[in-house]
Assembly symmetry: C2
Homo-oligomer: 100 residues x 2
DNA sequence: CCTATAATTCGTTAGTTTCCTAAATAACAA
DNA sequence: TTGTTATTTAGGAAACTAACGAATTATAGG
């Protein structure tokens, strides 16, 4: 879990995740959104990948980066658990009616 | 927001927050839970305080640390926004019926 | 004022992060 | 094979982090 928060701690990496919200994107296309050298971005990709926050998929010469929602959700759960009181530690999620 | 995630990235600091879930605690009492020198813990307290995740309150010679829920919630919201799709970016929170 | 207690700041060391340029690798096309 | 494009790896400089012991500040009580 430290790795995930560490990865989230850098604004460039959060922006990368934001760009990936709408779907996978290649390293090159992602790099166009930043004023940084490509190797620098590649380093950020590695941090995100090691944290499990993104997955990769090669398509010919390009490599697609994709958000890994399950790890994002694990980070959410970890953060949530830091907020709950101890006596609520093991409380299962309360279900609420669907609104749609 | 970087500061908050940076602060959350260290296991000792997450444990400190966990210890504070049930109420404020003095620096010394917190330090008893770790096998680290007090100056080291004091450094971690400073990181948490600079991130806004805790507040302090002096009582005589002791200093009480207390969770700052509102900043914890801001971190939650930031993480949540990284997960939502762009077209949901500005979606206001949907209200659900109270369960109690 | 003097002493004791609680906590922080200072100074140092070792290891890590971030960024760069240059070189290497992978896949494809001619 | 040769060249082109996409991306990563290598190597290095500057800045930052985490940890410690020693010294310092702040407060309370005699």
């Amino acid at each position: 879990m430290s790795d995930a928060f560490e990865a989230l701690a850098h604004p460039v990496r959060r922006q990368i995740l934001r760009l990936l919200r709408d779907g996978a994107m290649s390293a090159g296309h992602l790099a166009e959104h930043f004023d940084l050298a490509k190797p620098t971005l590649s380093g950020h990709f590695t941090v995100l990948k090691n944290a499990g926050l993104v997955t990769t998929e090669r398509h010919g010469t390009t490599i697609l980066y994709r958000l890994n929602m399950s790890v994002m959700e694990e980070a959410m759960a970890a953060l949530l658990s830091l907020m709950g009181k101890a006596e609520e530690k093991a409380t299962p999620w309360k279900s609420v009616p669907h609104s749609s």
